[in-house]
């Protein structure tokens, strides 16, 4: 499935949209890590918690549970918020 990548993570993927697979959001992130080493830890901490400024949307619905299932037809967008100056 297609995964939208935010600009701050483009250094890993060299593209703002990439292909990845997985039967859940968790597996999808693992596949991104396999293809682009280091990218998962920028989104998810060592306790498997999404970092505070990272948002994942599946078919435009925000997902915070990484075990959310996927069937491969979804549109997944990773977004990164900004705060401070």
């Amino acid at each position: 499935m297609k995964v939208g990548i935010p600009e701050p993570l483009r250094g890993y993927t060299r593209a703002l949209e990439v292909e990845a697979r997985g039967a859940s959001v968790h597996e999808l992130l693992d596949d991104l890590e396999r293809q682009y080493p280091g990218i998962r830890f920028r989104m998810v901490d060592e306790q498997d918690r999404l970092r505070p400024h990272v948002r994942i949307f599946v078919d435009r619905r925000r997902v915070s549970d990484l075990s959310t299932p996927l069937d491969g037809s979804e549109d997944v967008q990773v977004l990164q918020a900004l705060s401070g100056g």
């Binding site: 701050p8 993570l9 250094g11 080493p37 060592e46 498997d48 990164q80």
Partner: protein, 410 residues
């Protein structure tokens, strides 16, 4: 030295090396490694290289690298003169370590950045928020490095900073939660850091570290076990002002040629300890009373264990943490803290409310020694006469978090 840095020489963009992990050069500017004295400047918005000529007269800025990323600490490995690590936070995307093996020309990200082990059932979960401090390991272990984080974690790499492991002797110590601040209640901006990891050059097993919520700790078995070392150090913000732990050490250092001599700049003054004694002496009591002995950094002379420099800040009332009276000065002792001399020639005489953070003082190894400090308003100041007189070497940088004086080899 000039009042303003010379312009860096123009150079063509660097081509990325054929490495899948190489960081997009769009994320940083090419730098131009060259032999000689350089100040590595870590800031809230990237890192810079401030390079000196042989006379330390002309200084030029090179960089930035990782513009927009927090760089708490930039450290060159003195064992090879080429490996350079940055303790960084990638914008809002969490902590990491960037590595260069060619003096800063190209960088890759650590394959496994410092991270706490996954919490087991019933355990409190900790996540590294900031990689704050870097220390190259003992010369007998040429690939080893230590990192300190907030919350107060200690990590070690045995492959030049590529893979980091939790030092469980500290991170899982039975007293960890008594010795550290609660991660959910930390009052220190960016969290309470573990810092000042110091290794006895005579013995790789003998180490010290410091925290802002616990004080100084010592290990004699390379980090497997730890014990507090805070006797005589005040913690005037606690019910017992001289507790076993809970002190707020801002910066700790040991003398490289006399490793039994320790100095610390604490929230509650300046202290010195000569081992094997365990009781610190408050040498800041010998500072002028109208200046006080509050500050963040302390710098040691590379050859003389009796000489040190501090940058006093206002610790009265609500703690402005700016130069007392708006008149900045560096104070130097040449007798182990029995007396202090004010060095302010060249610094603004008034209305200069400077703040200098704990990693923002550095000394070089030349003769006479060069002393440097950097400020939260983006200035770097230097003295090439051991603190007698000062000149501004760079200004208009972001909020400076750290400087290190390093020597790139020929």
């Amino acid at each position: 030295m000039s009042d303003l840095p010379a312009s860096p020489p123009p150079a063509p963009p660097a081509a990325p090396p054929p490495d899948a992990h190489y960081l997009d050069p769009g994320r940083h500017h090419p730098v131009h490694p060259r032999p000689g004295l350089t100040l590595l400047v870590g800031t809230r918005k990237g890192a810079w290289f401030l390079r000196a000529d042989r006379a330390r007269e002309q200084w030029s800025l090179d960089g930035p690298v990782f513009l927009g990323n927090v760089v708490h600490h930039a450290v060159l490995d003195p064992r090879d003169g080429q490996t350079l690590l940055l303790a960084a936070r990638a914008g809002h995307l969490g902590p990491t370590v960037f590595r260069s093996q060619d003096g800063g020309h190209g960088f890759v990200e650590a394959a496994r950045p410092p991270a706490f082990p996954k919490a087991r059932e019933g355990e409190r979960a900790r996540s590294v928020d900031q990689v704050f401090w870097l220390t190259p390991g003992h010369p007998s272990e040429p690939e080893s490095w230590y990192a300190g984080t907030s919350p107060e974690g200690l990590f070690k790499s045995d492959d030049g900073g590529d893979h980091w492991e939790s030092v469980e002797g500290w991170n899982a110590h039975p007293s960890y939660w008594d010795w550290t601040e609660d991660p959910d209640e930390q009052g220190t901006p960016d969290g309470s850091p573990l810092h000042s990891v110091r290794i006895d050059p005579r013995d790789k097993s003998h180490m010290y570290l410091a925290t802002s919520g616990g004080g100084v700790f010592e290990s004699t078995d390379q980090g497997k076990g730890w014990a507090p070392l805070n006797e005589g150090v005040e913690a005037n913000f606690l019910p017992d002002p001289y507790p076993e732990t809970g002190q707020d050490t801002h910066c700790l250092d040991l003398h490289p040629l006399a490793p039994d001599v320790l100095y610390q700049q604490n929230h509650c003054g300046i202290y010195r300890l000569e081992r094997p004694a365990r009781r610190w002496t408050r040498i800041g009591d010998n500072m002028p009373k109208d200046v006080g002995d509050i500050g963040f950094p302390i710098g040691l002379h590379p050859r003389d264990p009796a000489t040190a420099w501090v940058f006093p800040m206002d610790g009265t009332d609500v703690w402005p943490r700016t130069s007392p009276g708006g008149r900045p000065a560096v104070y130097r002792t040449r007798d182990g803290g029995k007396s202090w001399e004010r060095g302010d020639r060249g610094l603004p005489p008034e209305q200069a409310w400077l703040t200098v953070k704990r990693q923002c003082m550095a000394v070089d190894a030349k003769d006479p020694v060069g002393v440097y400090f950097a400020t939260t308003n983006g200035e770097v100041w230097g003295s090439r006469d051991e603190g007698e007189s000062w000149r501004c070497l760079a200004r208009h940088l972001p909020h400076v978090y750290s400087i290190e004086a390093v020597e790139f080899p020929e």
